[in-house]
């Protein structure tokens, strides 16, 4: 299961993820991380059955954890299969098939929202956070 861990600036320098991993014994597979002066944001995979313990450990240390369980929504009626979305997605959700149709593998989606802005035909939307 994909989760987003948001870390505010006051605890940015603390190794809270490492601590949570050691403490719970649950592994986090980090796929994206973004830090600047104001906050940090990490996208990671965690085993579904272990989500609750991990979430609790991280939350206790001050992080905010969101489940990324509603991936990008693709409206095939609006889509003209241009492929504009292909080059902006960081996790290669979109690809162009042999016959130039658009293939969408939404299991890879980390809900960054970049493709939503890119799509000229309003065919892409995010349910829970954008």
């Amino acid at each position: 299961m994909k989760i987003k861990i948001s870390i505010s600036s006051d605890i940015l320098t603390k190794p809270i993820m490492a601590e949570a991993i050691l403490e719970t014994g649950v592994l986090l597979n980090i796929s994206q991380a973004h830090f600047d002066r104001s906050h940090g944001e990490v996208i990671a995979d965690v085993e579904s059955g272990k989500f609750d313990v991990m979430c609790k450990a991280l939350t206790n240390k001050g992080a905010v954890v969101t489940k990324l369980n509603i991936p990008i929504k693709w409206d095939e009626n609006e889509c003209v299969e241009c492929g504009a979305c292909v080059s902006v997605c960081p996790t290669k959700v979109f690809s162009i098939a042999e016959d130039f149709s658009l293939d969408v593998d939404d299991t890879k989606c980390i809900q960054c929202g970049t493709c939503v802005d890119m799509c000229p035909h309003n065919a892409l939307s995010l349910g829970n956070n954008k």
């Binding site: 003209v80 299969e81 241009c82 492929g83 504009a84 979305c85 292909v86 080059s87 902006v88 162009i96 016959d99 130039f100 149709s101 970049t114 802005d117 890119m118 000229p120 035909h121 309003n122």
Partner: protein, 500 residues
């Protein structure tokens, strides 16, 4: 030598013996049979393209109201249409945006809604005359209620188009889509192997009067499009067609974030194969159409070219920029372009569409000129203030407050000991520090991430930077990061006020 006439080909269309192939299929046929063999074999090659064509719109005639009105301003679903021609005609352009919804809804959406059979609200105003006394009119109309709805697109079907990338450190939102920082992606447009004009670059059969596929209906080429630049391989077409027969399969409104609205137009041009020269031209492949990747991070008419690239490379999904594999995406749909070429092929094969010779050829070897600007282009150094009061980062907040009080400058650049820029401090920062009871050093309360300008930048570019960053002044730096001036939004408004 093969020599066929339009007449012969049209007879074959009539008796069902015509051989039509798409421009994609033709590549292989010429590869196998050679140009002469292919010219004997094939009668018509169909092309197709489906992409954003901003320079599109529709002439509408609404019929006369009772009492009649000579419309002076017209809005369709709050999108302004141009009506400076006679009484009840108006041109709704694809990129005009809604007065109320802004970039979310524009002329392109009005056009799509009309094709979908939806009613649109018409609001018109006028001065009132003896013959046209009415001053205001409101009604709702659907496509059936109009006398004519003639699509006239001043500039469509670019022979090829520049690809776009972005060298800067932030994402730019353009009509070429979102361009990610540091050459994060490349976008491109055009159908390459299927592009109408790339398949007849010498305009042997494409010209004024050529019957075409436009938006799912039969249409015609009016002539060269605006900005037609055949010399550099950037020819364009002006086309017309009857909106009432068009389909939303081939006409679609679009929104480009941060740019506005546009219309995706589907067009296909048939090329009658009269001789082997024409056959040879239609054998062009994606590898045979070269364009340039331009840096859209630079907001100038003359965007720097990064490199040449073929459509084959663009379509492969990646291009190499400075040794890095950069992902590409098309903005036009190749799948739809193919559908259009095939649909046109079916029309001709079924005897429903006949080919034509142009009554006038398109001009060759012409180029579009840049705009003549009589006012000169203002640069930052023309209007910046050169006497700038600064403060050292180790000064106290109290000192800063005093300087601001004494000089009435609102923005105080903060300098390091070596006189380079360290930050900026405003009256607001000081007020905030005071309210928090923080009477420390300037360094502790200044903004470190300063938005700056260079002296030789164009004012219009800098004005946009001020807007985007929501600041009202910027230090102007030389290349050693020393301050040589300040430019404020007031200076800029004064410049434009003088000119208007």
């Amino acid at each position: 030598m093969v020599k066929k006439t339009i007449h012969e080909i049209n007879s074959k269309i009539r008796d069902g013996s015509v051989n039509v192939v798409t421009a994609e299929e033709m590549v292989h046929i010429v590869g196998e049979l050679g140009a002469e063999g292919a010219a004997k074999e094939v009668d018509v090659v169909t092309t197709g393209t489906f992409g954003a064509m901003c320079s599109s719109g529709v002439w509408l005639n609404f019929g006369h109201s009772e009492p009649p009105i000579k419309m002076q301003k017209v809005f369709l679903n709050d999108v302004e249409a141009y009506t400076g021609v006679a009484a009840v005609d108006a041109f709704i352009g694809a990129t005009q945006v809604s007065e109320t919804l802004g970039m979310d809804y524009g002329g392109a959406h009005v056009i799509e809604d009309l094709i979908r059979g939806k009613s649109v609200h018409l609001h018109a105003t006028s001065h009132g005359t003896d013959c046209y006394p009415r001053k205001v009119l409101d009604t709702t109309l659907s496509l059936n209620d109009m006398n004519q709805a003639i699509m006239i697109n001043p500039r469509n079907a670019y022979q090829k188009y520049n690809a776009a990338t972005n060298s800067t450190r932030s994402t730019v939102h353009t009509y070429m889509g979102s361009l990610l920082p540091s050459f994060g992606n490349v976008t491109y447009s055009g159908a390459g192997v299927l592009s109408p004009l790339s398949n007849d670059p010498d305009y042997m059969t494409i010209g004024t009067g050529t019957r075409i596929f436009l938006g799912g209906a039969q249409g015609y080429i009016v002539g060269e499009g605006t900005q037609h630049s055949s010399g550099g391989g950037f020819g364009t077409l002006m086309v017309q067609g009857d909106l009432k027969n068009m389909s939303t399969d081939y006409i679609r409104a679009a929104n480009f974030t941060g740019y506005g609205t546009s219309l995706y137009v589907g067009m296909g041009v048939p090329i009658p194969i009269l001789n082997e020269q024409i056959a040879q031209a239609t054998a062009v492949s994606d590898a045979g159409v070269t364009t340039q990747i331009l840096d859209y991070g630079i907001p100038s008419r003359d965007r720097p070219a990064i490199r040449d690239v073929t459509y084959e490379e663009l379509r492969s999904g990646f291009v190499d920029i400075n040794g890095k594999e950069v992902p590409t995406s098309s903005l036009s749909s190749f799948k739809k372009s193919r559908t259009i070429a095939n649909e046109l092929k079916d029309w001709i094969t079924r005897g429903e569409f006949f080919v034509s010779m142009p009554v006038e050829r398109l001009p060759k070897d012409v180029s579009a000129k840049p705009m003549k600007q009589t006012e000169g282009i203002a640069v930052v150094s023309d209007i910046m203030a050169v006497s700038v009061v600064t403060i050292n980062k180790d000064a106290s907040v109290y000192d800063a407050a005093k300087i601001i009080q004494d000089t009435s400058f609102n923005h105080l650049p903060v300098l390091n000991d070596d006189k380079t820029l360290a930050g900026i401090i405003t009256a607001w920062d000081i007020a905030k520090a005071v309210s928090l009871n923080k009477f420390d050093l300037v360094e502790d309360i200044m903004t470190r991430k300063v938005i700056t300008a260079n002296a030789d930048e164009q004012v219009a570019v800098v004005a946009r930077r001020l807007d985007l960053n929501e600041v009202s002044a910027m230090p102007v730096l030389n290349k050693d990061r020393h301050i040589i001036g300040m430019i404020t939004s007031d200076d800029i408004s004064k410049l434009y006020a003088r000119r208007s």
